[in-house]
């Protein structure tokens, strides 16, 4: 008897690796808060979103194990995020150029 789940070799991430990512996330939170105190004018939203995206990527890849999943998982996530990005960016065709 063979079960299908044997194809997937479980990947164990060490506590150390997780702690490292966690420290990275805390550092990025610190950077976000510090940058918010500086007057960046029109770059405020861009920097905030960039840092938030990096943090999400760290959570997705390591905490959510996306890094160790089959390629189809990554493609799916990419499609979902791209769809959302299109929703939001295309909406601004209606608002940004009035």
């Amino acid at each position: 008897m063979t079960s299908k789940n044997k194809e997937h070799i479980p990947h164990t991430v060490s506590y150390g690796q997780y702690l490292l990512i966690w420290l990275g996330l805390l550092a990025l939170t610190g950077i976000t808060v510090t940058l918010a105190g500086i007057d960046l004018r029109r770059w405020v939203i861009l920097t905030a979103l960039t840092i938030a995206s990096i943090k999400s990527l760290l959570v997705l890849r390591v905490f959510m194990h996306l890094k160790f999943e089959e390629r189809i998982f990554k493609i799916f996530v990419l499609i979902a995020v791209t769809t959302l990005a299109i929703f939001i960016s295309f909406t601004f065709f209606d608002y940004a150029f009035l």
Partner: protein, 204 residues
């Protein structure tokens, strides 16, 4: 006639995780719709959004961010623990996550009740006198952080059930995909907060 009973376990862990991921996409679109509304109104009322954000306490927001990031860490660690067969450690990590979730909600409670006492709640006379953009800001603030808080509560229930499963050995070293899926939900709640925090608190 003899009946032969064979115990055959049908499991597809990858498929289970994929199913969870597909569900999380619907959550992404749910919150994504709200972020879209946020984006348009912030674009139309940048100054009012800034005024609204001044009413929020950056410090509590930052503390809650750290709490949620750490709670995600302990969920991830609980999976490593169960993979190594350390049942007690796994439950302990999940227990830590639960405590941090409670701390997050307690902070949220104080935050909201402080806003309520200064008359900043939907349809309050004080808020209605403010400019249109600020009313929209607080409307979005309550709906989005409120829906997020509901997700934190749901996540606590899910992880609580996982703790019971581990204690009953239903989740164990050889079968832990349910814990992984529960973890995925918790991390998504974390990611949503990662965006909510700078977008609502850090506008100066």
């Amino acid at each position: 006639m003899t009946t032969i009973t064979t115990v055959q376990e049908h499991r597809d862990d990858t498929g289970s995780r994929m199913g969870m991921l597909l569900f999380l996409f619907t959550e992404l679109i749910l919150f994504g719709g709200m972020f879209l509304v946020y984006a348009v109104y912030r674009f139309k009322f940048p100054d009012e959004f800034r005024l609204g954000a001044h009413e929020l306490n950056d410090f509590i927001g930052a503390v809650n961010t750290i709490i949620l990031l750490t709670s995600s860490l302990t969920v991830a660690m609980s999976i490593t623990a169960i993979q190594q067969g350390k049942k007690f450690l796994s439950v302990t990590f999940l227990g830590m996550t639960q405590l941090m979730a409670v701390a997050f909600l307690v902070n949220k409670y104080f935050e909201w009740s402080h806003k309520f006492s200064s008359g900043l709640f939907p349809q309050s006379p004080i808020l209605l006198q403010k400019p249109h953009g600020e009313i929209l800001y607080f409307g979005l603030y309550y709906v989005m952080t409120g829906l997020h808080a509901i997700h934190v509560i749901i996540g606590m229930v899910i992880l609580g059930v996982m703790m019971i499963f581990i204690m009953r050995n239903s989740i164990n070293q050889n079968s832990y995909v349910r814990l992984e899926s529960g973890g995925l939900y918790w991390h998504l709640v974390d990611i949503i907060w990662i965006f909510l925090f700078p977008l609502f608190y850090l506008i100066h």
